[in-house]
Symmetry: C4
């Protein structure tokens, strides 16, 4: 009996988490498609709801769909928790958090219906949380590991530069707060730093802009200098990414003749013609 | 008789499509100039029409010009379809679609004059479609093939990164929708994602902006992080372009002494002085 | 007696300025945390003050906190001046200026209370100056030296390019001033140059925009060309940064086997396993 | 007599144009400072004039200053034309055009005082033209030749890419014109292309923005794709600049031991210690 349980759990584990098996990849794609479908439904619901008020029939339809998706993802969550070798660790992992958070809203509304009185806020928060199901699609992108490793490898430099940029932005915000003041939209130091972020990153909404000649001069200098500084983290990240991809490419060995350094779009070894493993596979 | 037909079609094919012959290049430039002229006319017409209402004379003039261009491009379309080895494949190709679409509006209006009652919409759509004739100029840019090949070579990475950026943008949009809500302009999830695109790509129209302190904080973080991530596809594309141009340069061999690696602006071989082929030519 | 003084000063110097000793690093972090805490207090005060008027109790609380921080930083300033080998040089250094400026506002208000009648301006300026304490955190980032050295090494090129960009911006501003004029928001040449900066750096607030067809055409050309030119200083700086980091990496020698070129995140020599010094250390 | 004239002209030529002599460099800097001073005056005049109306005294002062500068630059123009080996070629060169254009406004107003009746326009145009004197400062930047040579070397690629970007922008503008129409601000095809430039270059003024859901979707896609494409000319230019600077560095030979590849900021040969020529000098 125990052996049967064990085998069931083992094979479920391989279906749910092991992307090296065909059934594992298929199950991954299936859960991804369900998550995508669920998010598309939420977008349609939000898009219609922003223009007309729902009729009771539409209302019931969207509620029914949502209950369906919640049940499906609840089953997914339970299966993933139970088949993972250490269930507790899964619950407190990134994926465990996402899987749980995106099924909670409906249960909360069901257990605590008074929230529905604060209709708009609860509904909006629920929609926003349900959209996080899109993050489940990240499971389908194992190649993001190289982006993640690039970030981890460059973390010292990135933290350093972001801290430096933060200091520059706070200083710039304080200067503009002193120069322009509340009458020109720089109502507090926090707002001024928000202005500095929006300006130096060249977003430039225009909701807060300098109006005094001195403020415009300082803003111009800040733009010209900041423009060159804020691109440095991008450069660091791109350089790390390139190094990481380079490393991956060198790691990809022909299983037959051990030739390295194949083009990323090559499917066969250029020396002996044997089939190559995919990038990131062994 | 059949041989004559065959020869006519053969030589027309070379005039219309073969850029290696002088007459082929000339005909290419001629059709390009006609397309450019037609588009310029449409712009002038649109520019005048946006400020004054046309007099009947002006009206008749622009109609006449448009009928003329439509007839010319109809002849071009028929010639291209008939001289292409497999006419049906041409009709369903990118160029066949462009050639057909840009002559259709007038025929549609002619066959279905009731559309003219819905005057403004039909006229506007017709103008917009006629402008697509500008795409015919792409025929004059065979060098774009290297851009296209760079995109194709990097397609796995590009799809991966655009999908990742899409997930980030949807998540960011949902968060801001939950935080700010309809009263601050984030009326639906779709609108919030549009805001996220406009913000992370640093366009920053300012038609929708965060107003709550928490929203501004989240927006600031999103800008600083997103700024570094969204530049990655650009880096990938540029790296691929450079590699492709490098490859092109190495491929350009002196026909006399087989020297490779000539400067892009070199017209003569640096070893033996023989005339070099153009870049991309054999 | 003198010897004791001398030793006290010597050891205070090491605690305050010498980051190679453990107590020096700890004192650095402590002063950094105090500066950060002080700045956070100023932000909270500014954020509350922009929405409600303070009650007398809150008022007294914030005044008391500020007096506390001013006293602490006054002690820091005096200690640093007195323990530095040449006190006068410290007073006129960058750090001396920052340390002094950020404690002055309260003393000025105390000595010259009439300023408080011009309440809003003095209060705003005081807040803005106090925020400069954030610059004290730069002491914790010795690695910024490589950014600074990159700037110094590339100063000729950077000055050249910024001067060139300045000439382009002034010319562009003058042209738009001539084309658009005051009725379209280009009220003076200075404002037009501010517009050119905001446009070419792609910030694009939208507070001043071209309205005439000719102005829009010139602005479009300026955007397309300027976009390519303004990125050049960024490229110069990034190239210099990379070269500088490369140099740093080569400088980091294993103290045991003298192996060079270790990965930035390596803690042990890849040849002999000895502990490596940190980047930038000897 | 003729010999004296000839010698005078010869030595004036060296003073005015030859930057290799000390007097030549000094005269260059002097004319540059005068041009800068003249432009600063124009900015001050414009800045004051935008806020208050001039008193007759101020009026006369600025007129007098302007007459002074015009006379000085007239002398400069005549000297440059007369001492240049082929005076006619100088008149029709870039510098001849700038030198002439920036002294003309006052003479035109003097010969044709009726223009003064159209006061505002003439005055504004005159100010805008006088600012072009800033371009005289470009004479002080011989190093810009490498930027110019990079542009010339990459001209085929740059023209190709700008033409491609132009086609993309026209197509995008036409699509948005068809989708959004005049009610949403896309009043004509020209305005729509202006919108496309402002959007794809990420300036994003926000004076014209999409309002329909379909328009926002198309705009989002255009932003994400265009963002990656528009950076390509920057990449080309930067790569060419780097190659050009690299070439310059290799060209800089030690006059004593013929060692190449010196650091840009090196003043002495690293092999033999001899004084190095400046970058770009022989």
């Amino acid at each position: 009996m125990k052996g049967k349980h064990y085998h069931l759990r083992q094979s479920l584990y391989h279906v749910l988490f092991d992307q090296r098996t065909r059934s594992g990849r298929r199950s991954e794609v299936l859960w991804g498609l369900l998550a995508l479908l669920s998010v598309i439904t939420v977008f349609i619901e939000s898009s219609i709801g922003s223009q007309v008020t729902f009729t009771p029939t539409q209302w019931r339809l969207f509620i029914a769909i949502e209950i369906g998706f919640t049940l499906v993802f609840t089953v997914e969550y339970l299966l993933r928790v139970l088949t993972w070798p250490q269930p507790v660790r899964y619950v407190f992992s990134f994926w465990g958090f996402i899987d749980l958070a995106t099924i909670l809203p409906l249960y909360v509304l069901w257990l605590w219906p008074e929230l529905a009185i604060h209709y708009f806020f609860a509904w909006r928060a629920m929609r926003a949380i349900r959209v996080l199901r899109i993050l489940k699609l990240l499971r389908l992108m194992p190649a993001l590991n190289s982006l993640w490793r690039a970030v981890v490898n460059a973390r010292h430099q990135l933290i350093l530069f972001y801290a430096f940029i933060a200091i520059v932005l706070v200083t710039a915000g304080a200067m503009m707060y002193g120069i322009e003041g509340a009458v020109n939209g720089f109502t507090s130091l926090g707002v001024s730093v928000y202005w500095a972020v929006v300006t130096v990153a060249t977003v430039g909404y225009g909701d807060i802009t300098p109006h005094t000649p001195l403020g415009r001069l300082v803003a111009s200098l800040l733009i010209l200098i900041g423009y060159s500084v804020i691109a440095i983290p991008t450069g660091i990240l791109t350089a790390q990414m390139t190094a990481e991809l380079q490393r991956k490419r060198l790691e990809r060995k022909c299983p037959h003749c051990h030739q390295q350094d194949h083009e990323p779009n090559a499917h066969f070894c250029k020396s002996c013609g044997a089939k190559l493993p995919g990038i990131g596979e062994k």
